[in-house]
């Protein structure tokens, strides 16, 4: 259950980053709502996940999912580069997150 919360927390973080990008382009109330709401949800879920997971592991995986998600959003929504070094980093992050899940 803690791992599901952690993955959801990472997804909310990505939504928060999308909100941030929207604020840069258009300062609408809905953009602020998206950013603050998503980050609040993300912190709440991270805190729940930490109830049973070590905080170093939970924090690292949370950051990792947020970073991978933001990079993927950048590639698919904003036309950022899909070069192999970026893909390799994404694979390393996902593999280490899965490894952490397996040993916990």
């Amino acid at each position: 259950m803690a791992w599901i919360f952690l993955v959801l927390a990472g997804c909310c973080e990505v939504l928060g980053v999308i909100g941030m990008n929207r604020i840069v382009r258009r300062r609408a109330f809905s953009s602020y709502l998206l950013m603050f709401g998503s980050f609040a949800g993300s912190f709440a879920l991270l805190s729940s996940a930490m109830g049973s997971l070590p905080m170093g592991t939970a924090y690292a995986v949370w950051t990792g999912i947020g970073t991978v998600g933001s990079a993927l959003v950048g590639m698919f929504l904003y036309g950022e580069s899909r070069s192999w070094p970026r893909m390799l980093c994404i694979a390393v992050i996902l593999a280490s997150a899965v490894g952490l899940k397996l040993i916990t």
């Binding site: 912190f43 991270l46 805190s47 930490m50 109830g51 070590p54 905080m55 170093g56 592991t57 939970a58 924090y59 690292a60 995986v61 950051t63 990792g64 970073t67 991978v68 990079a71 950048g74 950022e80 580069s81 070069s83 070094p85 970026r86 390799l88 980093c89 994404i90 694979a91 390393v92 992050i93 593999a95 280490s96 997150a97 490894g99 952490l100 040993i103 916990t104």
Partner: protein
């Protein structure tokens, strides 16, 4: 040291405070401190990113936050040292920092 890098350094340390708070806070004033620490670390990083390359700022900041969190949990909260866990966290951190640094380089090349 450049003032903006000082912001990144302090932001990374404050990050460890709120991560610890999210796991260990129990009273209302500890939760208040955690919320203030979240706001402070975000503020410092956003300020630093205005004048420094965003990906590099984020890479250093995450590095400090991740390393600090793992150390804090062993030093202050008596979590046992598990070599494989620390190794995987370090590997994950390399991926995050690499991704952020590459993104900066590519943006520079485009501009």
């Amino acid at each position: 040291m450049n003032r903006n890098w000082l912001y990144v350094l302090i932001g990374g340390l404050v990050e460890v405070v709120w991560v610890s708070g999210l796991k260990h806070a129990s009273s209302w004033w500890e939760w208040l401190g955690t919320l203030l620490a979240i706001a402070a670390s975000f503020y410092l990083i956003i300020e630093a990113s205005k004048r420094l390359p965003v990906g590099t700022v984020y890479a250093v900041f995450t590095g400090l936050g991740t390393a600090g969190t793992v150390l804090a949990e062993m030093i202050f909260f008596h979590e046992p040292f598990a070599p494989l866990k620390v190794l995987l966290i370090a590997l994950l951190l390399c991926g995050v920092m690499g991704l952020k640094l590459i993104t900066d380089r590519q943006e520079e090349a485009e501009h």
